[in-house]
Amino acid sequence: MRSASATTNRLNSISKLSNLSFHLILGFLSILCLLPMLLILSVSLTDERALNLNGFQFWPETFSLESYRYIFAYGYSVANAYAVSIFVTLAGTALCVLLSAMYAYSISRNSFGARRAFTFIAVFTLLYNGGLISFYIVCTRLFDLHNQIYALILPYAVNAFNIIVFRTYFLTNIHESVIEAAKMDGASEYRIFFNIVLRMSLPVVATVGLLSSITYWNDWMLAMLFIDDPGLYPLQYLLMRIENSVTAIQSVAGSAGASYAQAELDKLPVESARMAMVIVAIGPIALAYPFFQRFFIQGLNLGAVKG
C-alpha cells in the first residue's frame, strides 16, 4: 500500500513551477521566523558593554561567552529546571491526550444520548472562565496544590479545545461502519476506543500531543502561582521570572526609589545573559522538533476502512 500511494504521489505532484514558488514563499517566511532567533543568539554572545552602546545587532560587536558562563553558574540549576520541565511536559501531554481523547470519543458517538449536553459542558469552559482569583482560591484553599508538582500538570490536563479537535477528527474520519463491525464482534466501547479508534487516530494524537506539549513547555503561569520551591521551577518560569522582574522593577523605579530599584536590578542577570537564557530554554526544543515531525510529513494516513 505504501508504494502504491508513493507512486500516486509522484504522478500527482504539483508542477515544477508551483514547487519552486512554494519553495520561495516558504523559504522567505522561514527567514522571517529565523531572523529573530539569530538576533537573540547574537545578543547572547555579545559583550554587555557593547550591547549598551549599540543595542541589538545581528553580528556581535564584541564577542563574549560570559553570559553562558554566568547561566551555568547561576543560582538555581538550569539542569534541574530542564528535568522538571521535561517531566511535566511528558506526563502532562500523555494525560491530556488520553483524557481529551476519551471525552471526545464519548461525545462523538451517535448512540450516546447525552452527547450534546456534554459537548456544551466542555465548550462552555472555553467561553467563560471565572477569573484568576477564583482559580487561585480553588487550587490553594480547596485543594492544596501549593508547591506540588501536580500543580504544574493537572490544570492543563483537560482542555476543551483539544477535545473538540479530537471530536472533529473522530466524526470525519472514523466511519460508523468500523465501529458497527467491531460491535458485531462483541467488542465493548472501551475495547473499541482503545484498540481501534485510538490506533486509527495517530495524526490527531500527534497533533494534540504537540499542541499540548507546547502549552506545558511554554507555561510559566502555573509555576508563578503555585511553586515557591526553587527545586520545582520549570525552565520557562526560571526565564520569565527574571524577565518579568526586570520589567516590573523598571516600572516601579519612580515610586520605590531609583537607587533601591537600581540595586534590585543589579541582582538580576544583564540583557545578554537573559537572551542566553532564552536560547537555552528554546534551543533544545527547537532542535528536537524536527524529530517529532515525522508523524505529519511521512503521510502517516493509515486510512479509515483499510485499517
Binding site: 529573530p36 476519551m102 467563560y128 472562565n129 471565572g130 493537572l154 495524526p203
Partner: protein, 303 residues
C-alpha cells in the same frame, strides 16, 4: 424502563469521559462561582459571599468615554487575525504538504514554528531592536543604505495596524498550520487516487477534496476564535508597542484599557466584571454563529 436501558448503555461513555469531567469541574467550573464578585463591592471583612451587592456598578467603566474605540480596535483586530490567520495557516499547510522534497518541508515546518516558542516579552525586545529610533536596525538601514530619514516608529500610528496583524500572524501561523496539516495528512489517499484517474487537476483536487475535508476544522477553529473576539493579548498590545501613549488610537484595546486604568487599584470587582463582559459577548456570538452553521450543515456545528 427505556430510561434505564439507555442509562446502562451509556455507562461506558460516562466512564470514559469522567476523568476529564472531574478536572474540568475543578479547574473551570468551580472557579466560575466566584465570578459573582463582579456584582459585588468586595471587601475583606465580608469576604466573597458577604460583601454588599453593587448591581451593575462595576461594569459602568467599560462603557464610558473610550468604550467605542477600544471595542472597535479589539473586534477589528480579532476579525483580521481570524480571517487572515486562517488563510495564511491553511495556505502554509497546503504548501508544506505538496512540496516535493519532504526534507525541506520538514525544515520549513520546524522553522515556521519557532515564533510560537518565544514569549511576548522577548518579542517586544526584538521588535524594539528593529524599530528603536536611534539604534534600531530598520532606521539604521533607512539612513545608512537608503539615505532617507529615520522614522519614529513608536510615534506614528499609521504603521501599527499592519505591524500588529503581521506580528500576530507571524507568531501563530506555524502553530495553526500544524493542525491543518494533520487534517490534510489524514485524508484518505483513495480520494486523490480516484480523482487523478478521473483526470482532475491539482487545483480541482484542492477544490473538491482538500477544502471540503478541511472545512470542519476551519469552522471549529473559527468558532472558537469568535468566542474570544472581545479578548486581546496584552503581550501583543501593551508590551510590543511599549505602551506608547501616542499609539493608543490604534493599539488600545479592552484588555489594555483595563490594565492602564486599574493597575494597582486592587479593584477585584471591576476586573471580574470585565472578564464576565468579555466572556458573555463571546458566548453569545458563538451560540449565534453555531446556530447559523447548524442550519447550513448540521455536522459542522460545535454543539
Amino acid at each position: 424502563m427505556l430510561f434505564f436501558k439507555r442509562l446502562k448503555r451509556d455507562v461506558p461513555f460516562v466512564v470514559l469521559l469522567s476523568p476529564a469531567l472531574v478536572l474540568m469541574t475543578v479547574f473551570s467550573y468551580l472557579p466560575m462561582f466566584a465570578g459573582i464578585v463582579a456584582f459585588k463591592d468586595f471587601n475583606y471583612l465580608d469576604g466573597f459571599f458577604g460583601s454588599p451587592w453593587a448591581g451593575w456598578d462595576n461594569f459602568k467603566y467599560l462603557f464610558q468615554m473610550d468604550a467605542y474605540y477600544i471595542t472597535r480596535n479589539t473586534v477589528l483586530y480579532n476579525v483580521a487575525f481570524i480571517f487572515l490567520g486562517l488563510v495564511v495557516s491553511v495556505a502554509l499547510a497546503i504548501m508544506l504538504h505538496e512540496l516535493i522534497s519532504k526534507r525541506f518541508a520538514k525544515l520549513y515546518q520546524s522553522v515556521l514554528f519557532f515564533p510560537a516558542l518565544i514569549s511576548w516579552v522577548i518579542v517586544s525586545y526584538i521588535v524594539y531592536a528593529f524599530l528603536s529610533i536611534d539604534k534600531g536596525i530598520v532606521n539604521n538601514a533607512l539612513t545608512g543604505w537608503f539615505g532617507v530619514e529615520a522614522v519614529e516608529w513608536y510615534s506614528e500610528t499609521v504603521y501599527w495596524p499592519y505591524l500588529i496583524v503581521f506580528i500576530s500572524i507571524w507568531k501563530s501561523a506555524g502553530y495553526n498550520a500544524v493542525i491543518y496539516l494533520a487534517t490534510i495528512v489524514s485524508i484518505d489517499p483513495e480520494y486523490y487516487e480516484s480523482a487523478v484517474l478521473d483526470g482532475a487537476s491539482k487545483w480541482k483536487q484542492f477544490q473538491y477534496i482538500t477544502l471540503p475535508m478541511l472545512t470542519p476544522v476551519m469552522i471549529i477553529l473559527t468558532l472558537l476564535a469568535i468566542g474570544k473576539i472581545f479578548y486581546a493579548d496584552t503581550g501583543l498590545f501593551y508590551q510590543v508597542p511599549r505602551n506608547s501613549g501616542v499609539l493608543y488610537p490604534v493599539t488600545n484595546v479592552i484588555d489594555t484599557y483595563i490594565l492602564n486604568g486599574l493597575k494597582g487599584q486592587g479593584q477585584i470587582g471591576m476586573t471580574a466584571a470585565a472578564g464576565l463582559y468579555q466572556s458573555f459577548v463571546g458566548l453569545v456570538l458563538v451560540v449565534v454563529t453555531n446556530l447559523i452553521v447548524r442550519r447550513r450543515s448540521k455536522e459542522n456545528a460545535l454543539f
